[in-house]
Subunit: 210 residues, 2 copies
């Protein structure tokens, strides 16, 4: 497996959050106290190789891109949609899939904490208010960032099966949420249309043993 | 808060795993198929600033350092132990604390999947076989990497309180394990001395609501 990290330029890319507005007419928010590492982009979007899976991560940096009128991510998503086997969005990253138009007529979910804004992109998207993640054909989308771990467990299980996957998950000692419908966060964040009967707790443990 | 990422040199540091032996007389293991990003080191250990918290992460790269006779991490840990407010180790990273001698007479835990090797370092360490994480004074240590998330939730709660922390955790939609004694992984990995009465499942949900 090869991991290509794609950005506008190769080299270090900060994961810190540039100043941005949280909404129209709101003051500029400065989150420069939020620490984050830089990771190294291996390719520009112009020079990116063929991809089996295109994963668009989340983060508030998406707001800064929007407000700066920078559209490279949605254009890249659109240009690669037909070639990839899986198009994956996590949290605010799902917004780029919506803006690219690839969610039209599809079921998808996104961040529950920022639901109103996060679902303001795209047309005719069937936004699912209570879902930790949603699979619709080759499009997989997850709720807030931590839900991305559980979606990736489900996607890797789909690709490789539990026999190969579970020993690795047990080695890293992660107890995944395996029910995509468990979304207590949609309830506590009062997402319109959320299913109030979802239990707040989910009981999890080592996969293959529970 | 300032995040300093400390390594032997500044600039990109690969998180990929160099070839290494898993144990004495075992063949060299090549895990070059395991993908991982490069992150940017901000300081060398010689030029690192004063630190409030020193966190030593895990990973199989620790084996390659050992086998190459590279001891900079344990020397850095030893040199900073008196100055820091918290000395934190995650998974195989705990081994560097042990090798530095700072765990002598202390309670600590580490990876359950690689328990025998992981606990082979240090002298007079009171290794706790069933614990997702262990706090002993200013030393906090966690089991395998995913347990590090739950330890960090506990440490941040200790530092900032739930009123500030929980809204952020609920925004990222993480449901932390809050009981340090829940360690189903010690049971499934057959760690000697593990508590067999620990339930395999832990029921978790949005902090502050469950």
């Amino acid at each position: 497996m090869t991991l290509s990290i794609i950005s506008e330029q190769t080299g270090p890319v900060s994961s810190r959050i540039p100043p941005h507005e949280m909404g129209p007419d709101e003051p500029i928010m400065d989150l420069s106290h939020v620490a984050g590492p830089s990771i190294t982009a291996t390719h520009t979007y112009r020079g990116a190789p063929a991809l089996d899976i295109l994963l668009v991560p989340g983060g508030l940096g998406s707001l800064a891109l929007d407000q700066g009128g920078n559209t490279w991510i949605q254009e890249f998503v659109k240009s690669r949609m037909d070639q990839v086997d899986y198009m994956v969005g996590i949290c605010a990253g799902v917004g780029f899939l919506a803006k690219a138009g690839v969610l039209e007529g599809k079921r998808a979910t996104t961040s529950k904490a920022f639901w109103e804004r996060a679902t303001s992109f795209g047309e005719n998207v069937n936004w699912v208010p209570s879902a930790r993640w949603v699979e619709d054909g080759k499009i997989w989308t997850s709720s807030g960032v931590a839900a991305g771990m559980d979606m990736m467990y489900a996607l890797l299980k789909h690709l490789y099966g539990t026999e190969k996957l579970d020993p690795m998950i047990n080695n890293i000692e992660y107890a995944p949420h395996t029910d995509p419908n468990w979304d207590a966060f949609s309830v506590i964040h009062h997402v319109p249309g959320a299913d109030p009967s979802i239990p707040l707790k989910d009981c999890v443990g080592p996969p293959g043993y529970v």
